[in-house]
Symmetry: C2
Subunit: 359 residues, 2 copies
Amino acid sequence: MPKLPLPPGSTLGILGGGQLGRMLALAAARLGFDVAVLERDADSPAGRVAAHTIVGAYDDPAALEQLAALAQVVTFEFENVPAASVAKLEALGIEVAPGPEALAVAQDRIAEKQFLNASGAPTVAFSSADSAEEAVAAATEMGCPVLMKTRREGYDGKGQRWVEHAPDAAAAFKALGGAPVILEAPADFVRELSIIAARGRDGATAIYPLAENHHEGGILRRSLAPAQVGEDLAFQAEKIAARVLKGLNYVGVVGIELFELKDGTLLVNEIAPRVHNTGHWTMDGCEVDQFEQHIRAVAGWPLGPTAPHHRVEMLNLLGDEAEAWAKLAHEPETRIHLYGKRDPKPGRKMGHVNKLKAL
Amino acid sequence: MPKLPLPPGSTLGILGGGQLGRMLALAAARLGFDVAVLERDADSPAGRVAAHTIVGAYDDPAALEQLAALAQVVTFEFENVPAASVAKLEALGIEVAPGPEALAVAQDRIAEKQFLNASGAPTVAFSSADSAEEAVAAATEMGCPVLMKTRREGYDGKGQRWVEHAPDAAAAFKALGGAPVILEAPADFVRELSIIAARGRDGATAIYPLAENHHEGGILRRSLAPAQVGEDLAFQAEKIAARVLKGLNYVGVVGIELFELKDGTLLVNEIAPRVHNTGHWTMDGCEVDQFEQHIRAVAGWPLGPTAPHHRVEMLNLLGDEAEAWAKLAHEPETRIHLYGKRDPKPGRKMGHVNKLKAL
């Protein structure tokens, strides 16, 4: 196993070459690390700012061996890292963070909700179903409407649909591919919030102020942070974050999506074991942003401060919205972050801007 | 010639693979540019965070052609770029910024002082000498002590020596290699200050607050910014910066080193046509730092704001001082920047820290 804290000049591995990998790589470089990216695409947003790109699938044993030969610590930009890949890297003497426990929970919506409830982090009511018949039975028992999601995979609103009448659950189950699903009771929320938090290898935690988030068609459009919340709500959210981090023996940054209910209680929607789109505001709003924080944590460094110095409105630039860069560059309050993606498909996250306001 | 403003996704070329090139490359990546570094060393601090490294000397025609095939706009991290290289790139249709005028002035200490005085930016008295005899005559006429420097090259206190008695000027001339020299009257300064400023392709300027600088053995140890100065001094410095930028028809960031005299007037010590060590504080102290500002300027983007949000004490980490990274990482007010240099030679700039204080 590598000696930790990992000294500058060491190589840090990242699974995934997208924008999160890119912003992690830039943060790692600031701290003096070299970065090796494992990614299917030889020309990726992260690979273009990394010292090494290893071209391969995330479960390609030869690619994982190449990564292990370069890097001492490996992290990832997405939660669907195959468990076998993590096991293989660990067998090769590599520290992988966040660890297999966090991945197992984040990859299965049933395991995730069971873990959360067991940890004292409340969620909506839910059931699982492995067949169309079970889905109809579960929808009948829960009462409709219910939100059906595949247990695994799916992001940005993909792999889910609403069931308005219990008998329709059979068709929904088939439409989602016939794989095991979760059925979730609707959350009668007044606001979507999120909390970004980190835990170091020493068990210390660092928690950022809450963000208020606005989605459209399942895709994040806009975050406002620090969110305007009372002390009570902030305290609830921090308690949830602390329980999640401790319960998963977590190392790194986690993003926790929350529903604020009318009565002022919080439910956890989902947890992402990685840096998170709703934490991009920290790049221009906080002393140490979520990307450096994650690198610090996985490298075994002490965590940094999370104090904000600006209020931020973060706007995602989707598809051809990034073509407004010249106009955005004229706005003095707007900090621009572009990901170097070649192909501006509709809905694709091409960049984001942080609009700064006084705290 | 490339269409400006240069769109994200374009490739920006940087001559030089050191720490300034690295920090420029990281800033360019944030704005969505790819970077191509031209550098003698295949494994350089900047190359490791760039999409492309072209290995070659700065005057290697084949290397310059490779760079021109990739990049639409080229900048540099050091002032001693051969004029012929700039001419070659321009002949190949590349925009080079800052331009040949700025380089010519910055590469010759006599031309620099003549330009400054002609622009209404005062300097110490000086003479030139092309032989040992001329050196003795000049020292005699000026009166000793005088500071003898080679007209070209030299940085961080290299290529200069004090002459205490006029006859010693002959030996000093030979010790400096027998090349043309400048003799400078001593500046009876109370403080060393610097001002970092930028000019866009549209002629707009952006000026950062002054920094107060402390050198040891000719090497910058420490900058404090914004410096504690009265309105008068700030006004003088801004006027100097504006004259330098306009006089050189400048595009990019310039660093201007200043002497503050007892009577409250400012003299220009030297100008560096590039991002500058005394501007590293802007990385954690300002909304848009000097590196992004430089990229914006050379890419033909509008300049960004220079307002500070923290007071900063910047400390260079020289040689083995960077080995204190683990201790520094524990300090909540300290932001760490390490350059990925492999070999911590004494006096070598391995990184810097910005210690944040309230404004």
